[in-house]
């Protein structure tokens, strides 16, 4: 009987099955439409052991606050979450209190109070319609999940932020639109946000558009997947445990089956 099963495997049927599964997955690339190739950067958080670069994230928060937050909200993020990128409670309190949220006081009146660490990031517009109206009809998307919500999100974002070039002569750019070589269709409603020294970094890093794009992407990647470092760390322990379990159960199986195989 062993003859049959071992023959089956020497035929490589299992290997074939596994490779077919992999083909099956890789076929699901959903990559239809025009394909734009973004520069592939070497992010500190990519790879199975990658972690976020705290300094870069903090600079990214500064870029978000001083450049992006004028139009883009991050409604899923709370100020208290900033602890994870290295801020202490007093810093978070101070950061939150620069914004105000409306609430109802004991007399039933709508009042404004400074935001607290437990509040979610205050969005720049009260609602979608106000956001559209202020931006010529284009809706500035919320950035809480932006890196997860775009294919190859981190590279895409960095490319988009640095992809503003002069439009080719034959391309008409309507009023209120801008030319970006990485945006699908090339015409984007967002004006170029990053210019040299658009922000002044406290740590002395030179604020080039490329640097700012990298930093804000690192910050937004964390905002999309705040659990990432915990997840990978736990994953390594789980994989080591499973390796041990697989090894032990394999040898236990071999030992238990030995008398049957001998027949």
């Amino acid at each position: 009987m062993i003859k049959y099963s071992s023959k089956l495997f020497s035929n490589g049927i299992l290997k074939l099955f596994l490779s077919l599964i992999i083909i099956c997955f890789s076929s699901v690339s959903y990559g239809a439409g025009e394909k734009i190739n973004y520069p592939q950067l070497n992010w500190s958080f990519s790879g199975i052991l990658g972690t976020f670069d705290r300094a870069s994230q903090q600079r990214g928060l500064q870029v978000y606050k001083e450049v992006c937050s004028g139009c883009h909200g991050m409604r899923l993020l709370a100020y208290r979450n900033l602890k994870a990128i290295g801020y202490n409670e007093d810093e978070i309190k101070a950061f939150a209190s620069e914004n105000s949220v409306s609430t109802i006081n004991d007399d039933g009146e709508v009042i404004e109070r400074p935001a607290r660490p437990s509040d979610k990031f205050v969005s720049p517009y009260p609602n979608d319609k106000a956001a559209r109206s202020a931006n010529g009809g284009a809706y500035p998307p919320d950035l809480s999940l932006i890196v997860k919500a775009r294919p190859d999100g981190a590279n895409y974002l960095h490319a988009l932020l640095t992809g503003y070039i002069d439009a080719p002569a034959d391309k008409k750019v309507p009023d209120g639109m801008y030319y970006n070589k990485y945006y699908s269709g090339n015409l984007i409603g967002m004006p170029q946000p990053l210019y040299d020294d658009g922000v002044v970094y406290a740590d002395g890093t030179k604020a080039t558009p490329d640097q700012m794009a990298k930093d804000v992407t690192a910050f937004l990647a964390w905002a999309s997947e705040p659990e990432m470092e915990d997840r990978k760390r736990l994953g390594v322990s789980v994989m080591l445990f499973l390796l041990l379990l697989t090894t032990l159960s394999y040898f236990a199986m071999k030992q238990i089956w030995a008398p049957i195989k001998k027949q």
């Binding site: 009987m1 062993i2 003859k3 049959y4 099963s5 089956l8 495997f9 299992l14 099955f17 077919l20 599964i21 083909i23 099956c24 997955f25 076929s27 699901v28 690339s29 959903y30 239809a32 439409g33 199975i48 899923l76 979450n81 998307p141 809480s144 999940l145 997860k148 919500a149 775009r150 294919p151 999100g153 999309s224 705040p226 659990e227 915990d230 997840r231 990978k232 736990l234 994953g235 390594v236 789980v238 994989m239 499973l242 390796l243 379990l245 697989t246 159960s249 394999y250 236990a252 199986m253 238990i256 089956w257 049957i260 027949q263």
Partner: protein, 416 residues
């Protein structure tokens, strides 16, 4: 019940009145199993494990989920961000669906390769196809719950299929939606059904197991067990083999959950559902892609729907479509080749389902769809008339055979 086999007095007392321990001892311990099963027979128990995993994680998720169009998306994000280890539970559930389908698809193709659907296991097979159908319904409704763009538009496309039914189609769609578009009532009922259908699956799985234990597992050479020399008790031999298989499965599963949790998902589903914005390409989850390709291959809407459901329907009648009395492909040289063609055909359909319905993809979809139905409706019934099967061994324990033994084995099979 003169002498109990249990030593523990409490177990003995209970078992005398309610023989659950005898039942478990009989079905999980002594249960005689063919001794030549290969690793493809691991996938049944893996599917059971996946089902339990999905139910346990699903119940925990439902404690934190809000089935309302205004809160569903944010409640899932709250699970991901604020619930302790919520990301782990959700990623297990999300990837668990994909792994459940991987395991079940391998399980089904195992059955096709080794002829496990043939007499006397027809009902076992049919119950399995029923489980597949229930899984598809459950998975489809589960994908709607996070209320992302693909959730919403996938639900819109798939529920709209029913409008192809003549006369009552439109009314049926309105009835399914609970309104005039995919909206809050749709989300509510999908949540309710997504919660309850897994327990229906458990019920059918129990019947599947009862049917399995009636004649026992089929085996790689596909001949009946001739006596105790052909079998070994399920425990410890297959319990330990299943544990090893589970460890390997979990290694792949954990790698996906911890390191590539969104690999099998679609980025658009991290954008909240918006009825005013249609995504450029609406694609279902990967495990539906072959069926989606068949749907789009047929130029007529009703025809497409019929062929798509027909692709499952042919599986229900497969035990009667296949006229060959030889189970295992090892002894069917021509069928064996066509088996691999069918597998490649299904993978090709999966690929085509992910591609836009235009140009060469449409033509290929039609060819692949035609082959799928040719394989089931023409090849299975007619192949036995032209195929010369190899001589079957006399028994599982005597795979090397003399001419006389072979002749008698063939004769035995012919009589059936």
């Amino acid at each position: 019940m003169s002498k109990s086999k249990f030593k523990n007095p409490v177990v003995k007392w209970i078992d005398h009145r309610l023989p659950v321990f005898s039942f478990m001892d009989h079905e999980l311990n002594h249960y005689p199993t063919p001794k030549n099963l290969n690793y493809f027979w691991n996938f049944g128990s893996l599917a059971g494990f996946a089902l339990v995993t999905m139910i346990v994680t699903g119940i925990v998720l439902s404690m934190n989920y809000t089935a309302h169009v205004d809160y569903a998306f944010d409640s899932v994000e709250r699970i991901m961000r604020d619930v302790n280890h919520g990301w782990l539970i959700r990623y297990i559930h999300m990837n668990g669906a994909s792994f459940f389908f991987i395991v079940v698809y391998i399980h089904i193709f195992r059955g096709l390769y080794y002829g496990s659907y043939k007499a006397p296991r027809e009902l076992l097979w049919i119950l399995g196809v029923l489980i597949l159908l229930l899984m598809m319904a459950t998975a489809f409704m589960g994908y709607v719950l996070p209320w992302g763009q693909m959730s919403f538009w996938g639900a819109t496309v798939i529920t709209n299929l029913f409008s192809a039914i003549p006369l009552v189609g439109e009314s049926i769609v309105t009835w399914l939606w609970g309104g005039f578009s995919v909206d809050n009532s749709t989300l509510n009922r999908f949540f309710s059904l997504h919660f309850v259908l897994p327990f229906v699956i458990v019920g059918v799985v129990i019947l599947h197991l009862v049917a399995l234990h009636r004649f026992g597992s089929n085996n790689p050479i596909g001949i009946d067990v001739k006596g105790t020399q052909d079998t070994i008790p399920f425990s410890p031999y297959y319990t330990i083999k299943d544990l090893f298989g589970l460890s390997v499965f979990l290694s792949f599963f954990a790698a996906a959950v911890f390191f590539f949790p969104n690999f099998m998902g679609h980025p658009d589903n991290y954008i909240e559902a918006n009825p005013m914005v249609t995504p450029a390409h609406i694609v279902p989850e990967w495990y539906f892609l072959p069926f989606y390709a068949i749907l789009r291959a047929i130029p007529d809407k009703l025809g497409g729907v019929l062929f798509m459901f027909g692709a499952i329907a042919v599986l229900f009648i497969l035990p009667w479509l296949d006229r060959s009395s030889v189970r295992s492909s090892q002894f069917r040289p021509i069928y064996k080749i066509f088996f691999w063609i069918l597998l490649l055909d299904c993978i090709l359909l999966g690929y085509l389902g992910a591609m836009p319905a235009e140009g060469i993809y449409v033509i290929l979809s039609r060819i692949a769809t035609a082959y799928y139905f040719f394989h089931f409706l023409i090849l299975f019934p007619l192949l036995p008339f032209i195929e010369k099967t190899k001589p079957l061994p006399f028994s599982i324990s005597e795979p090397i055979l003399g001419g006389a033994a072979t002749a008698s084995a063939m004769a035995t099979r012919e009589k059936k």
